[in-house]
Subunit: 194 residues, 2 copies
């Protein structure tokens, strides 16, 4: 199924896409190239620009994901909901070179609008990304910069540039180490002058 | 007062310093050069390496902080506690070129061990950082890479590489926009194979 036909999920305006990552959630990085695909977890991600939106993410040079991203020039940042926390750790603990992690861990996917990398169900937001090649920092620091070419969320969870983690809806997660996460917590506001 | 003499605060082993940022908190970036100093908020920060630890942070080229960091080659990432949320927004809403934000917003500071940039009270962690010059990505993307040369936390809040946001202790915060934050939420664990 393609994302346009997915019930409940709508495009996030690109100028607001950075806000999907602004609170620092752990993401799942999915990638695909010539019929092969993979998914890995990445706590080391951040927004990098507003409009056109850019992101940055660390992709270790020993990973199969790195090969797929360097070949395809594309990836998707999937923002997992809490119920996907076990799988988020599991896909970080093994290599996808000789196996299909999606099948192994029961991760169902759908198709995005701009890139071939698959989008995962049980996530609260998705950013389709196209790499802006910066070979020096990729080689030295494993750091990738990409432009966000499409972004998606269910408006029940995210609309008008804000998250709405209401009762009964799943929240995003923030990894520490050793299988331990923080759930995204209580929302609160302070005075803002503009 | 220097950090070594600060009651309760202890050095975080450098190999565990990345875990201060792994859950994606918003930080305050402090800087100093030749008697001038400034502080700004930055949601766009992430860990970049384990040991020696590196970090990455976005510093807009129009900011006074940018000038101070480019002159000094140093900065501190301060991880504000929730009670500092108002000031975190306030220092992001004004420029420090013609004023001292520390005095204006009542931000008391102490001295780190390796860099001249001040460390702020009412934070739960601190990373003293030395810039690894990468002029191309600084110019193109406002992206700075730095090595963490010292890291600090109160062991009541962070020890053995893990946060302990126990009852009565303040948590870190995650900015969205318009004065709205998420507090770092509930800790939970899933199975981890090693």
């Amino acid at each position: 199924m393609t994302i346009d036909a997915l019930s409940g999920v709508k495009a996030v305006p690109l100028a607001k896409a950075y806000r999907l990552l602004n609170h620092g959630p752990t993401v799942l990085v999915s990638s695909a190239w010539q019929g092969k695909r993979n998914v890995m977890a990445a706590s080391w991600n951040m927004a990098l620009d507003f409009d056109p939106p850019k992101v940055s993410v660390v992709i270790d040079k020993n990973t199969w994901t790195r090969e797929l991203i360097e070949s395809s020039g594309e990836f998707v940042l999937n923002i997992p909901a809490r119920s996907l926390a076990q799988e988020t750790v599991d896909v970080g603990n093994c290599c996808g070179r000789d196996r299909d992690k999606f099948a192994e861990f029961g991760l169902s996917t759908f198709t995005g609008s701009n890139v071939a990398a698959p989008l995962l169900h049980r996530c609260v937001g998705w950013l389709e990304c196209r790499v802006l090649p910066e070979p020096r920092i990729a080689s030295l620091y494993d750091l990738f910069i990409a432009e966000v070419v499409a972004a998606w969320a269910d408006p029940v969870d995210f609309s008008d540039g804000h998250w709405h983690f209401t009762a009964g809806r799943e929240r995003s997660i923030h990894y520490i180490a050793g299988g331990v996460f923080f759930e995204t917590g209580e929302e609160f506001a302070v005075k803002h002058s503009y």
